[in-house]
Symmetry: C2
Subunit: 308 residues, 2 copies
């Protein structure tokens, strides 16, 4: 049986805003993180795929995380991405997150070399765990095979859990393949499992998932939170339908530039729409189409006035 | 017409040795680099795929490069890999290489996010070139789509050459697809083009390639150099046949662990065989089979006694 989980509910991989000079914008970042925690999110996963983490430099990632904690965000609610192709940099990022008191870290496998052996991935994690050498370390495996191309198949998950008991405690499944998420849930009821999309939120909760970690939680966490709180009630299926309709609308656009365009629009702050290469900002017409479609068809809007 | 090229001939993506503590082994690294330059190589491309560069940390890469130059290797002969998923880290590595006087840099495209737009990749390179802001910068594009999953298709190469004239000066084509290499050679006779395998060395030289940058140059540069020096002579086809036979034998094994196992064997230095995760060392029986096959069938051996 599971003990008290470290993380549950709705977790947003916080989008990373950039200033006019192209550097990460600390003020916008903290403001958005706090707004998320006040508007549905139970935790934050900065430096995920949605955060353009792999477009950030090693130092930029560490500085932003420090600013977030210094800015008052409870580090226990933070599950920063700390994966890297190299043991060396993964260990630096992970140690840094643990030192700041983060509740967990979300780790990609090393993703440059393709088709690594199971043994090679286990050794990678063994080296990181050994380098960090801290009992507080809690690792969430980040399975996103369509992007990283290197993933966590079921036998590897089992082996990592067995090799690092109490350290490897969960997984985010961003495969978009419910059958895979269900198989992991069935095999590992003792892990904290998060589907990577709210499309599977209700199915997930019914099957023992801890919640979801989803890109679109950056703009839609409130509705997801209502479902997390009410999934055993009579309105659950209807809530899931509404959540799914919005998700499907957003993911028909390039997700990261669209999330930023939505925030820019409702904050009346055009600078928010900036992205780093290899992404390009959403063309204005596309952004307007996304905003209008969501508003007209789904009554979707963001209310930043309610932020503290 | 081409001016005097920055690089030509046989270039080895230097394998990176590790010490017992798992850290890069500077002494072995410099010794191997110098041996390569004395035994066929005209240049070195440290921190390529074969170098396990993406298993090294940002600081480790910069420290090793400094040690190489401090150790007496002519930086004009160095084309270090400085690509990264992030503009920030790519710019740091590239600036560092330029500051050390390196003749060029070999750059992967940002490879985490898949299917980037052409515009996104151009912006990535624009940001790196702008951040470095140094006229000495010479970029060689590193096309290895089967690993990076993000490559340099022909229209992108043309656009990068046009946007950064005199800065984007060459390309390594590790696709293993001669038709692609030939198409690039035909379209861009003004670029320094290097097939990523000596299997295409003679074909390449005949079609205008500058040489080759090949993993197996770590152990077979002398024979490749003889072909580069004698490709217009009567023995060229026979030389290519012998080179290809050795290459095909090596690449039937896991290449990086096998190259290290060969060096470890002939240096009588077992520590040379170490690799970093996600790679694992070649099992002893496999290593012996590689060594024996190469020696018995192809008369292949490494002579480190001749090193300075």
């Amino acid at each position: 049986m599971k003990g008290k989980p470290n993380f549950s509910g709705v977790i947003a991989p916080v989008v990373t805003p950039f200033g006019e000079d192209g550097a990460p914008d600390v003020d916008r970042f903290i403001e958005h993180a706090e707004w998320l925690l006040e508007n549905g999110c139970t935790g934050l996963a900065p430096f995920g795929t949605t955060s353009e983490a792999n477009s950030l430099g090693l130092d930029e990632r560490m500085e932003l995380l420090e600013e977030l904690v210094d800015g008052g965000v409870d580090p226990a609610k933070l599950m920063p991405g700390t994966g890297s192709c190299s043991v060396a940099d993964a260990a630096i990022l992970t140690q840094h997150a643990v030192d700041l008191g983060c509740g967990g870290v979300l780790m990609l496998p090393p993703f440059y070399y393709k088709n690594p052996s199971e043994e090679g991935i286990v050794r990678f994690f063994a080296d990181v765990v050994d380098d960090v050498g801290d009992d507080r370390l809690r690792i969430y495996l980040y399975h996103i095979p369509q992007v990283a191309q290197v993933g966590f198949p079921l036998p590897l998950i089992a082996r990592l859990k067995q090799e690092f008991p109490g350290t490897v405690v969960g997984l985010k499944d961003s495969s978009g393949d419910w059958a895979n998420t269900k198989a992991i849930l069935d095999a590992h009821p003792d892990l904290e499992i998060f589907p990577g999309s709210e499309l599977f939120l209700l199915q997930g909760l019914r099957a023992g998932a801890a919640g979801c970690i989803s890109a679109t939680a950056n703009v839609g966490a409130r509705a997801m939170r209502r479902l997390v709180d009410g999934w055993e009630g009579p309105d659950a299926d209807k809530m899931q339908e509404e959540i799914s309709a919005i998700r499907l609308t957003i993911q028909a656009f390039p997700v990261i530039p669209t999330l930023k365009a939505l925030i820019a629009h409702y904050r009346e702050d055009p600078g928010w729409a900036e992205v780093r290469p290899p992404f390009v900002p959403l063309p204005r017409a596309e952004a307007e189409r996304a905003i209008t479609t969501l508003a007209d068809k789904h009554g979707f809007r963001l209310d930043f006035a309610e932020a503290a």
